[in-house]
Symmetry: C3
Subunit: 399 residues, 3 copies
């Protein structure tokens, strides 16, 4: 059983991860290619260790703080799993049970919850221009508190979904494609269709489509973003995708034609989201406390959605792709499945059921990706640490 | 301090527990006599170890997932205690904070929360025909996911109360009787009265009376089930009890006369429950979304209950039993105590106060019973594991 | 790195802490001077160890139970941090998710949650005459259960704020003054102004001003309590403060003049609270279920508060103190800051911002103070235990 993670150690050894130490994870495009590769490599190594019943605890004690400003099952459990893998205990800040409502500043709350915090994981994806900004305010606050001698350590941020990006999801997605394609080098030139799809619910975040075009363009893929007119994503992220594609020798195009996107695609990622402009309007209305306006907007958006019920993935759509029904179908879950969770939705049960195992494996990367983000922020020499873990104790004492 | 658990190791060594490994715990009557005996033995051994400040951690990390679809204090803390005893961290699935409401399938949720789960504990006792079925759906899902390579391990199920059985409660109850009687061999021929009792609240689960008659008939006891007409329990469980009694050389009878049941009883277990037929009707109404019908049913049931306020345990009832006021009085708690939590209830304060210590000891078995269920599902050679634990480290480093 | 906590070990070695073992922490004035000094010393030692990446786990497993009957962020996270520091896992009793509403007795709930509990932390500060009494009822119950052989251990109580005292706060406060003054011996003769301040909210607990006058009078300080007429605190605690001051050779005075209190003060602690008499009335109304009466009382109190908006700390007030703008300004947080969380409040933004680092350091003592309370109740020979910890393993395995 010796050297079961040698391949990952060899990979990691060639990567410059020096700036990840004591740093944070906000957006994938703020990270270098080496850093992105390191997340994949450490995630795979931690999984290999756990599969072989080797403990991956690098902490004897310490807290991982979670702040969920939106509902979550998958990401909540992924964060809890990642913390547990590394030896941290999760402490959730439930803003309803706290004194945050007292008008307390973000700076103060952030500091008060961080005395023993090694990690802070935040989901804040509801309002355009708010989530990522909130995360920065939290991290600026604890960095300041650390510099001022108030905190003994600066907790590292893990972005568990903001208004701009959803890095733990998209890195888990990318790692799944890498596993399916047999290596990151095989992604070059492959076509992925990141497309809108119809959903009967409204206001789904834009962080996944934005995160996907901002990440997958780095690997030289032919990335096509498709959506009905009016469902544009943030212009800033489009520019990131364009720049990435150019630098990586890939392609990035936008179309309003779902079939064009699916044509000869190696991977399809159809998923509903709300128009960026509508989400901006909603944020304004929310800021003004105009809840009637929000209700009205919601009705308008649902009516707008309803005119695009033909944006659904069925077998005939899959047949347009490179490998037909066998083409890799992706989704962050839960999906709106026709005849299962809704009458009309993002995908038919046939397509979903065929992809189920693959979708669940895609999701299974998330705890390891989050653990890798924490690992690389908290361990100065990750190669040495992985080597040391390999020769340490078992996770289950008795098999 | 050597060999403090030798007696338990000797017992366990003679039992065939091979099929408990990687298995689940749904209903006691799905387990062999050896398997039931093994739960008692391991529970007692773990308690002895902890009392002697010996750590019983068999996991270095890992999660115990809890899903409570009904309120709980005792069972929630018992499950948390059991997980902590063994080295697992509890992560609760709060369905209100999750995306389960999105119409997500049980299969998907079950898989998504289980990537690092070694155990799943579920309470789902509200609707006849639903709770146990839900548990099976969860376990079928994670078994499938494990077979498909999605999950590295199959989490083991601990039934924390379903519509049919409440095994962690009834095994804790049985273990209490065993301790009080000085050994399981002394239960043979002893009479236990599992009786209905009046409660001002409605809709209490049937899982305890059903679980008790399904379990205690195995030990050759003279089990009498008593309730007013109309308060019948599930017919299937009655058949289990009849079969068990026959095989174990004991007795199982049903009566509508509480006094007849108490007459010469060695143990009494008086507790309110709702009629099975009414609970079935409620489940149907719930399925149709007929909440007016549910309200109406509730009023009918409370009126029906109110005609049986004479089903109360007071000193005069206790005097009918084998040892009078000293006879073992049992309850899963909390009880409806006359003059304490209600005007008319299941038991008078005199009877309850006299039994208090015994009742609390009964309850104290539950964390160890749950820990034993997990232990036997997760450890292939439990005898070797117990031996190894005995010589391992302390729970409190400094006494 | 040897002997990094030698100074604390030397101090602790001279203190009689024998009665803290297996005991509880209700009120600071129930503890001897040695015992108070021991809390400070162990808190500082634990912090030094953690700062040097030395693990302070004294438990391999076990639970720390928290019961919050009022909202909390700081204290909740402080308790969770303290438990984690020592190796205990927090299990929160959420009374809404439990069966406590069934009319269950405190005695029963307390016992049922304590089978694996090493600590119980309780916040119950809402009703005069209730919180401290509730804590005693809980501890009497588990002590009884331990004596009766129901519980293997008696969990130790940590008072996380009651109607009388808030010891984890006031000890953290005192430790901050000690750090700022360069030693407890330097507190003698120093003047501290514990004053009321205006807040737009109503019904703030009296536990902080009461706790402060009951604690700081022990160190020979010149303690001045200032508040508008009608905002008197509990008479019993006033007597404690008077007695303490006399014994320690300090002073304790009460005034209705904020400026008089601030004049030449070395430390100021201005904070809003509700009048004791009004809180008593509120408790009575609550007991009678007179919610209209409570609403009426609330309006009266807010109107009463509003006549005292001049009780605010601004630079001109600070100029009256011994060291002007540099004088130590204290607050348990969150404060009502003018122009930040309210229009009129306890303090101006100028004063607050200048003191921010100091306030956050004050708060950072709380996890260590709570950990010290637990440590001293759970470890028989704390000197030996600290020495042993120093030579044990690291908290973060890889720096």
């Amino acid at each position: 059983m010796a050297n079961i993670i040698q391949e990952y150690i060899d990979k990691l050894d060639k990567l410059d991860v020096s700036k990840m130490y004591e740093n944070d994870f906000f957006l994938t495009w703020e990270k270098t290619d080496d850093e992105i590769a390191a997340v994949f490599t450490v995630a795979d190594a931690l999984r290999r260790l756990r599969e072989n019943n080797i403990s991956t605890k690098i902490f004897d004690s310490g807290l991982g703080i979670s702040i969920f400003r939106d509902n979550s099952t998958r990401t909540r459990f992924s964060f809890a799993s990642a913390c547990n893998l590394l030896g941290l205990e999760v402490q959730d800040l439930d803003e309803k049970k706290s004194q945050v409502a007292h008008g307390e500043t973000v700076r103060e709350t952030a500091t008060m919850i961080s005395f023993m915090a090694d990690v802070i994981g935040i989901r804040d994806d509801m309002y355009i221009g708010k989530g990522n900004a909130y995360m920065h305010e939290v991290i600026d606050s604890v960095t300041q508190a650390n510099n001022d001698g108030v905190l003994e350590q600066k907790p590292t941020l893990v972005n568990l979904q903001c208004d701009i990006d959803h890095p733990s999801q998209t890195l888990a997605d990318a790692l799944h494609i890498i596993h399916e394609m047999g290596g990151v080098e095989n992604l070059k030139g492959k076509k992925i269709a990141m497309t809108w799809a119809y959903s009967p619910s409204y206001g789904k975040p834009l962080s996944v489509p934005q995160g996907i075009i901002g990440l997958l363009t780095r690997f030289g893929m032919d990335v096509v973003l498709a959506h009905p007119e009016g469902y544009e994503v943030m212009e800033d992220v489009v520019k990131v995708a364009e720049k990435n594609a150019e630098e990586a020798g890939g392609k990035f195009t936008i179309t309003n034609d779902m079939k064009e996107a699916f044509k000869d695609a190696d991977v399809v990622y159809p998923k509903s989201w709300a128009p960026y402009i509508a989400m901006e309007k909603r944020t304004d209305l929310y800021g003004k406390g105009d809840f009637d306006g929000i209700d009205k907007l919601e009705k308008e958006l649902l009516a707008q959605n309803a005119t695009h019920q033909d944006w659904v993935v069925d077998d005939s759509m899959m047949e347009l792709t490179k490998n037909g029904l066998d083409t890799l179908y992706m989704h962050p879950l839960p999906a709106d499945i026709e005849g299962v969770s809704c009458e009309h939705g993002e995908v038919t049960a046939e397509v979903f059921d065929r992809a189920r195992d693959s979708l669940y494996k895609e999701a299974s990367n998330k705890p390891y990706v989050i653990a890798a983000m924490i690992f690389l922020a908290k361990v100065k020499d990750p190669v040495a640490a992985l080597k040391a873990l390999e020769s340490a104790g078992p996770r289950k004492t008795f098999k």
